[in-house]
Symmetry: C2
């Protein structure tokens, strides 16, 4: 079995309002960072997975994203794998 | 002015317990994904920034991370910049 580390990003979809991001965009102005715009906030997830091949690990991580980590109605996800 | 896109990861520090990640690690077992271990959950933040150079943009994003986006006592951050 090979051990992989996955780095997953789960972000609110573009067409969905991100109130947390909007609030942070507003706060940037108060901090004197008005050149920062369009902040969007999602989740970054790291995990370890043991699998027989990179393809098998990719399939398992994809399953975890679809069934648990991301709400596909409102969020999209992407991930990268590397050997741990 | 050049427009950059920043991709920021804010993660709980290694020595800090991540109860949300622990709960998700447990749920993986119930989903039949027991080969997934050590889930840690942080934030992924994207933003747009206008600056005169990449160095200036880097400094501004670093300031935003330190002052607003990350709690440096409990979290560490990293980011990449690319031209939008």
């Amino acid at each position: 079995m090979i051990k992989f580390q996955a780095e997953i990003d789960v972000m609110p979809k573009k067409e969905i309002l991100d109130p947390q991001g909007k609030a942070v965009t507003g706060s940037m102005k108060n901090l004197g960072l008005s050149e920062i715009q369009n902040v969007r906030i999602g989740k970054h997830i790291t995990l370890e997975i043991e699998a027989e091949s990179e393809a098998a690990a990719t399939a398992k991580v994809d399953e975890a994203c679809k069934n648990l980590l991301a709400n596909l109605i409102m969020e999209s996800y992407s991930f990268t794998l590397h050997q741990a």
